[in-house]
Amino acid sequence: MSRRGPRAPGREGASRAATWLLGLGLVAAWLLSAAPVPAAGPSSPATPVPAAAPRLLSARVHAPNELRLRFSAPLARLDPENFRLTLALEPDIPIPLQDVRTAPGNRLILTFGQRLQPADHYRLEVVAPPLRRDVKPATWALLLTVMLAAALINNFVFTRYLGLCIFFGVSKRRDTAIGMGITFTLVMIFTAMLSWALDTFVLRPLHLGFLQILVFIGVVAFVVQFLDTMLRKTHPGLHRRFGIYLVLITTNCIILAVPLLNAQSSSGPLDALALAAGSGVGFAFALFLMSCARERMEYARVPQPFQGLPIAFALAGLFALAFMGFSGLDFFR
């Protein structure tokens, strides 16, 4: 600093002006290079096509068997041979194209002879303006679907019947249900990601798949013990509030089912995270609903053979019936 101190103010002003000029020049160059592209289409002027070749602006699968395309200009060839759609996983088997229709606004509607799933990953190839495009939903949409499906459509308690011991044991009072729900969701995410990492980077490369059960239950036990010790030392207040639920989590089968399901479908890290979060939230939701209903049931007059667990089971059956209503939920429609 002291070295720069005696610098003349005039020189400083000049260098600042130079910086400004340089910046302006860069911006102008960027504008000039960027601006003509949308107007001129393909950037190389040497192409023989006189007019701008139509560019594909958007491609979307529409249930049950349509693919809707939007171009920047009308297409020259509209015969079915011009288009080829395959599943990204099976690039050799084209899906039979039945009909090509045009719609206003340079749109094309391709109708296929087979069901298309909006959640799947397809590859579209066009001959006449030579182009190639992957047709798939956005990643966030897929993750949201996985999460919603785990929480509502395939709710672990009401449609896959997992975690019932904890579910019936802890759902008697609302505040314990909330505490358990929060603790469980956090531990679930932690455990699932750790199990996923171990499975992907250790078990699979070494072909130790038969150790899955042993490793996953070990991870659960380790995480629970670790969190218990750490919370007791660092946040005794939190430990007093949530510690009791930590111990119970070990006997919850959902915490083991999620890593097993992730390993079965060999999902990526984001999918694993979405499934873990979804199942945790779904369990917490189920627990909360059930505890609210059971608190009310304290005041009901239940026939004696049904008192206690039997009526709780019937109640869970009613909830399961209600959750069947979610089965038609489709995020992409």
Binding site: F158, T159, R160, Y161, L162, G163, L164, C165, I166, F168, G169, V170, K172, T176, G179, M180, F210, L211, Q212, I213, L214, I217, G218, A221, I244, Y245, V247, L248, T250, T251, N252, C253, I255, L256, A257, L260, L261, Q264, P303, Q304, P305, F306, Q307, G308, L309, P310, I311, A312, F313, A314, A316, G317, L318, A320, L321, M324
Partner: protein, 230 residues
């Protein structure tokens, strides 16, 4: 489990007669007095999940029976070697080893059925019933009683699963073990997820009622049905 979160995941300590009971008593205890599903209400997840048919219930019941007997025997043989402070992790590892073995065996011998119940076979590891039997019984008793206790508990579980399976299959598809019995339109509801909860609730209430009738003749004491927790 009236104060659910306060108590550890093991069930309330059951009474163990200090003289070692006979094999017959132990087996009957597992099947009737302390039936894991209907009386202790432990390990309910598979009891609802796989009991849509008798065959599924039978397969999982056999798997649990094998795991229970084998881990009871292992713990009973090794209890001198296990330090009491690390016993729970050691029990878990023993169970996990046997579950892995049974899982692979079932996958090899009954692939078609395994495809339906595979996930639940793996989840036997997290069953409260097995680890609670190890903790309560097998870790304190010699080999033979542990074996029969495991056998009784496993059989009790097997019988419960088959009963629920038969009930649901009869009502849900009008057949038992694939043999059509009931004429007319079946109640699809009982084959659906929601029906599983109802079936177990109904069967549990039925067993409570039978027990109360049997007790009520002798004493007017209130039934313990409301008390037994998860």
């Amino acid at each position: 489990m009236s104060t659910a979160p306060q108590s550890p995941p093991t069930p309330p300590p059951t009474k163990i007669a200090s003289p070692v009971p006979s094999a017959r008593e132990l087996i009957l205890n597992g099947i009737l007095a302390e039936n894991p599903v209907f009386r202790l209400a432990l390990s309910l997840c598979p009891a609802v999940a796989v009991t849509t048919t008798v065959a599924n219930g039978l397969l999982l019941g056999v798997a649990v029976l094998c795991v229970q007997v084998l881990s009871s025997v292992t713990v009973s043989l090794a209890h001198g070697l296990i330090h009491p402070r690390v016993r729970i992790p050691v029990y878990t590892i023993i169970i996990a080893v046997w579950v892995s073995a049974i899982d692979m065996a079932l996958q090899a011998f009954t692939p078609a059925l395994y495809a339906q119940v595979g996930l639940y076979v793996k989840l036997i590891v997290a069953f409260a019933i097995i680890i609670s039997r190890l903790e309560i019984f097998a870790s304190r008793q010699p080999l033979a009683p542990s074996f029969f206790d495991g056998l009784g508990m496993g059989l009790g579980f097997l019988i419960a699963l088959v009963t629920i399976g038969a009930f649901r299959e009869l009502l849900g598809s009008g057949a038992i073990a694939g043999i059509p019995l009931a004429p007319g339109k079946p109640l699809l509801f009982f084959a659906l997820p929601a029906g599983g909860f109802f079936s177990i609730g109904l069967l549990m209430a039925f067993f409570n009622w039978v027990e109360r009738r049997a007790q009520g003749a002798r004493a007017k004491a209130p039934s313990p049905s409301g008390g037994h927790g998860v």
